[in-house]
């Protein structure tokens, strides 16, 4: 079954991002440096929305993620292709313009590049639409590559540590930590239930699938409920008073890394401004 193969693959890749986060060559770099680098670059990519800058950022991030963090090229490429379906639909939808007449009405009326006429409405692609779509395409891929750099090099526990540093509400962080821990437990449970259901022809027809999936969801829900009660009991037994306290690991702050990040970001800002001034795409 192709659907099942697909599912297996998806799960493998999901866990893969997380396992790479714990085992990559940049693991011992201070998490604040990594997140600052990823988020600043992401913001620059978003603000300037220039095709050239985005392309530079994609190459830069790919270089850092594959070259410095040691993520295998094949895995990285596969991951980059994951959000492609949304990107394609979204970009094509943005590229297509509609108009009631023969020409596009607007501030700078342009010629259609391609056009279909359905009764009075014309659907087609204009140069402006195409340019906007291209900007969007590269901008999205650029920011996605920044996101991947962060999620592939920084484990979630450290991101939670960062959240604590920027003083997000403690309740919010604690909830994210509980959720993170139990995602893996429940995922395993769901996988086991799915395996046993499908080995009993639980997914042999559409009607069976709906029924099985409903049972799986309900069983998972009840398991979660019991798990939560067990967790609370064990925590209370260990003196839980409403706060989960964990030791934060210490990371060396590297002046060299910070200088490098500042240099790279300044270079990106300057080139972005230059591109903007020269009206380059």
């Amino acid at each position: 079954m192709s659907g099942e193969g697909n599912k297996q693959q998806k799960k493998r890749y999901m866990l893969k991002i997380d396992s790479f986060a714990y085992a990559n060559k940049l693991r011992n770099v201070h998490p604040a440096e990594k997140t600052a680098f990823a988020l600043t670059t992401m913001l620059l990519c978003l603000i300037f929305s220039s095709v050239t800058l985005s392309a530079v950022i994609i190459i830069l991030m790919a270089g850092v993620t594959v070259g410095l963090a040691g993520i295998p090229v094949k895995t990285y490429l596969r991951l980059m292709f994951l959000p492609f379906s949304f990107l394609l639909v979204g970009v094509i939808t943005v590229a297509v313009s509609a108009s009631a007449g023969d020409t596009v009405v607007g501030a700078n009326a342009a010629e259609w590049l391609v056009k279909i006429k359905i009764s009075k409405i014309a659907l087609g692609i204009t140069p402006e639409g195409l340019l906007a779509a291209a900007r969007l395409f590269f901008k999205s891929l650029g920011t996605v590559s920044c996101l991947y750099f962060m999620s592939l090099t920084t484990p979630f526990v450290e991101i939670a540590m960062m959240m604590r540093k920027i003083k997000l509400p403690a309740l919010f962080i604690e909830l994210t930590e509980i959720i993170y821990r139990f995602i893996f437990v429940l995922l395993k449970t769901a996988e086991d239930i799915y395996t046993s259901q499908s080995s009993r022809w639980g997914y042999s027809s559409f009607k069976n699938s709906m029924n099985s999936l409903g049972c799986l969801t309900a069983a998972l829900f009840v398991r979660s409920l019991h798990r939560s009660q067990e967790l609370f009991t064990t925590l209370t037994a260990r003196g839980y008073t409403g706060q989960l306290n964990v030791l934060a690991p210490q990371y060396p702050v590297s002046a060299a890394n910070i200088t490098l990040i500042i240099i790279v970001e300044t270079f990106l800002v300057i080139s972005a401004v230059l591109l903007e001034v020269n009206k380059f795409v």
Partner: protein
């Protein structure tokens, strides 16, 4: 030589239209098997001002949600674990796939189920956290579009589902119908909100927002309409199983729904 270029030109003109249609439908078809991504706006897709706007709009709801959870938690500390498990449950659900008629698959949002069980305010916080994990672990959604996605999936969807459920229950509609319509409404409104967000960010030169909205609604309706119905059916099945075999747990949960104010 000139004739050749003329022939090429005319044939190009002839080709254009069918090629365009084929390319467009091919792109649509390509994306159908993996329309799991149609639900969330991907990373970097919204311009900076709109991304910020949705963040600002979502934050008050997040604060309200956190406050209501805090209130419940101080009264009954075990609820925190329960909500944590519920969040993990929602994430795992989103990693599962709904089987559908075309062989394509997508995931349930779980928005309706969560809103009925825990109330819409708690769902804002849970939804936001689940979206963070989807972005980090699945590259599904994103950090910059977190505000917009939280607003559509964790603010509008749950409120719609909750209101529909409560109103139908009050009017004495059968339980399964209330659950079905609540879940379907939660799913549909999430998708409509996403379309509105995209249309606001990318209005058309002619026709502006309204035309753009029609365009986005049209494109995503192909995949989302059947999904909303599917999610409705699935939620009904889940509810039936729960009420048949886990009456006790549901009774315990209804305490929470009362404690988390609307």
């Amino acid at each position: 030589m000139r004739m050749l270029s003329e022939i090429m030109k005319s044939s190009l003109k002839k080709i254009k239209l069918p090629v365009f249609i084929i390319l467009y439908s091919a792109a649509l078809l390509l994306t159908l098997p993996q329309n799991a991504y149609a639900m969330h706006i991907m990373e970097g897709f919204l311009p900076v001002n709109w991304a910020g706007f949705w963040f600002v709009l979502t934050i008050p709801f997040l604060i309200l949600g956190l406050r209501s959870i805090q209130k419940t938690v101080t009264a009954a500390p075990s609820v925190k674990m329960l909500l944590g498990l519920a969040g993990a449950f929602a994430f795992v659900l989103s990693a599962l796939k709904i089987p559908s008629v075309t062989g394509s698959c997508s995931h349930p949002t779980g928005v309706g189920l969560g809103a009925i069980m825990f109330g819409p305010l708690a769902m804002v916080v849970l939804g936001c956290i689940v979206l963070i994990f989807q972005a980090l672990l699945l590259a599904h959604g994103g950090v910059t579009t977190l505000g917009a996605n939280t607003f559509s999936m964790a603010v509008v969807g749950p409120i719609a589902a909750f209101v529909v459920y409560r109103v139908l229950k009050k009017t004495g509609a059968p339980g399964w119908l209330a659950v079905f319509l609540a879940a379907a409404a939660g799913n549909m409104l999430t998708y409509i909100t996403t379309s509105v967000q995209l249309a606001l960010a990318f209005p058309l030169q002619s026709g502006g927002f309204a035309a753009a909205l029609a365009k986005f609604l049209g494109v995503f309706a192909v995949t989302q309409l059947p999904l909303a119905i599917m999610e409705g059916i699935l939620t009904v099945v889940v509810f039936n199983v729960l009420t048949t075999y886990n009456r006790q747990e549901l009774l315990e949960l209804s305490v929470i729904t009362e404690e988390v104010p609307q």
